[in-house]
């Protein structure tokens, strides 16, 4: 694929790469509007995994035979692809994990559990996914540290006015926020929070699960200390994600999972840890999954992250406009300019589960629930919302299908 930067992507053509769209659901064309939960997979990525299994499979790193060498090369190539994707300084800083949740837990345990002390402060936001909230609450609780939440303002954006007050309360050790909210699509001002965190001497953990699939990332420009990514949301397979971390910090940390591969030497009285990134990759790696993730990055970069972001942005604006036509609808979150391809809403008097179920019968797949954001739901004063989310293969007709579907939902409950 030869695509030059800035080119608009052609979602209709790209759809042909995704076998899932070759079916109808309940006799209707499939309008898959739940990509924020997990994206669909292009054939190219599936082929890369099959090819790996069929020609180059063996356990990595330790074998001196041909298949093991090939497998190791494939895994390390994927690591290099991810390094370049994040503009990380070194592959030593790219750690393969299962998903963003494990990436964040790795930091919470291996840094938080052994560094937090009673009275220290961990700062998160009201807009976090449970995966960037509960781990901090858990380790803070274990260490007697305090959890503070930055609130949202009325536009669904972070209110940073309380930062000074928090800083006066005690030792801020960790600041953890997402870059893009999975509920509201808000793009958060991570730069200001990073600067503030570093002024406090805190580490900054960035949950980029929802950002990585949709926009160009640069860990050096962001200035964060750790960054978590899920492969399955960016055209990669389930079972592989990445934690990026600064080498200086990773080196000083305890390991997280221990066991095979992550050691330098094992003795009854003393075990020493392997070099980065191996120190944090205990046991057999998700090898084929990493290979698939590397292929997904190839796929995304051939299209261009800028083109993907622009496409989603257009869809978000279109969706916000069309949805506003539906009587009784409440739309949550910031205006289109400051959001990714995610739109959350409620229909008056109709529970999201019922909305989603009736939409499903019309071939429209959206998510209904708390989106693993209960603190945000409490703030919004609802138990759940409907959420439609878009990706590179989304076409405006799917949004039309959604809007028509919502009218039908309203008829059922009229």
């Amino acid at each position: 694929m030869a695509v030059t930067a800035g080119t608009k992507l052609d979602a209709r053509t790209l759809r042909a790469d995704f076998p899932i769209f070759e079916q109808q659901v309940h006799g209707k064309p499939l309008a898959f509007l739940d990509s924020a939960a997990s994206s669909q997979k292009p054939r190219q990525m599936l082929d890369a995994m099959d090819h790996f299994y069929e020609t180059s499979y063996a356990n990595v790193h330790r074998g001196v035979y041909e298949l093991a060498e090939r497998a190791t090369e494939a895994l390390e190539h994927a690591r290099e692809r991810m390094r370049a994707f994040l503009n990380a300084p070194s592959t030593r800083e790219v750690i393969f994990v299962r998903n963003a949740t494990e990436a964040i837990n790795l930091v919470a345990y291996a840094w938080g559990l052994w560094n937090l002390e009673a009275g220290d402060i961990v700062v998160v936001t009201e807009l976090e996914h449970h995966s960037n909230f509960v781990p901090w609450q858990f380790v803070a609780g274990k260490r007697g540290a305090e959890l503070r939440m930055l609130p949202l303002d009325d536009h669904g954006e972070l209110d940073l006015s309380g930062l000074d007050a928090i800083a006066r309360e005690g030792n801020v050790k960790i600041v953890a926020t997402n870059l893009v909210s999975n509920s509201l699509g808000t793009i958060n001002p991570v730069d200001r929070l990073v600067a503030w965190a570093h002024e406090q001497g805190a580490i900054f953990v960035c949950d980029a699960a929802q950002a990585a699939p949709h926009m160009k990332l640069d860990v050096q420009a962001l200035g964060v200390d750790f960054l978590a990514v899920s492969g399955h949301k960016m055209c990669g397979p389930s079972g592989a994600g990445v934690l990026w971390g600064r080498a200086e910090i990773l080196q000083k940390m305890e390991p997280f999972l221990t066991g095979g591969h992550m050691i330098s030497s094992v003795h009854v009285d003393k075990t020493t840890w392997g070099e980065l990134p191996h120190k944090f990759e205990a046991g057999t790696a998700p090898m084929a999954e990493a290979v698939g993730l590397g292929a997904a990055i190839d796929y995304l970069e051939a299209i261009g992250l800028d083109a993907i972001e622009a496409h989603e942005h257009e869809l978000a604006a279109y969706a916000l406009g069309r949805l506003a036509e539906v009587p009784g609808i409440t739309l949550y979150g910031p205006p289109a300019e400051r959001r990714a391809g995610i739109v959350s809403f409620n229909l008056e008097g109709i529970h999201p589960h019922d909305v989603a179920q009736i939409l499903d019968l019309q071939g429209v797949a959206i998510r209904a629930g708390h989106h693993c954001c209960q603190p945000l739901m409490h703030k919004l004063g609802v138990a759940a919302t409907n959420r439609a989310s878009f990706y590179l293969y989304t076409i405006p007709e799917e949004i039309d299908q959604l809007v028509e579907g919502l009218h039908a939902v309203r008829k059922v409950f009229a």
């Binding site: 309940h26 006799g27 209707k28 529970h351 999201p352 589960h353 019922d354 179920q357 009736i358 019968l361 019309q362 209904a368 629930g369 708390h370 209960q374 739901m377 138990a383 759940a384 579907g405 039908a408 059922v412 409950f413």
Partner: protein, 146 residues
């Protein structure tokens, strides 16, 4: 839209119970009560029970809380079913009896919605009378009642 499927799932009686829930409200100083939640959508329901003079028969039962049509209708139907039965009878009530009443085919996720009221009612009775907890909820004691 497959009207048949839709008619089937959101049939008149479901919508009627949803719009006009039976036993909706609160019993002050209830003899038994419990709160339940559906972790999938954050829906919550509270159930209140008043026993008759024998201390066993359910004299009145009410529910409050929010939820989808399926969970609200199922809980509303349950209120009608439970009244006049003993705590023991309700604690051992087969979920199929309630499912028959609901009378629409449910996927596993929606089954959780439909069962929220029944599970919560059984928990309330368990707390008040020591009747058995619903299946699969043996760990409920540790997790939720503290």
């Amino acid at each position: 839209m497959s009207d048949f499927a839709l008619e089937n799932l959101y049939r008149e009686v479901i919508l009627d119970h949803y719009k006009n829930p039976r036993g909706h409200g609160v019993i002050e100083h209830a003899d038994a009560e419990a709160e339940g939640q559906n972790p999938l959508c954050g829906d919550e329901v509270s159930i209140y029970v008043a026993f008759g003079e024998d201390g066993e028969t359910i004299d009145d039962v009410k529910f409050s809380g929010r939820g989808c049509a399926i969970s609200q209708a199922a809980t509303s139907m349950l209120m009608e079913m439970a009244k006049g039965r003993t705590a023991e009878q309700v604690a051992t009530l087969d979920k199929d009896e309630l499912l028959a009443e609901i009378g629409v085919p449910l996927t596993p996720v929606r089954l959780k919605c439909a069962m929220l009221g029944l599970t919560t009612l059984k928990v309330a009775l368990h707390k008040a009378k020591g009747t058995p907890l619903p299946e699969g909820l043996a760990d409920f004691d540790d997790l939720e009642l503290t």
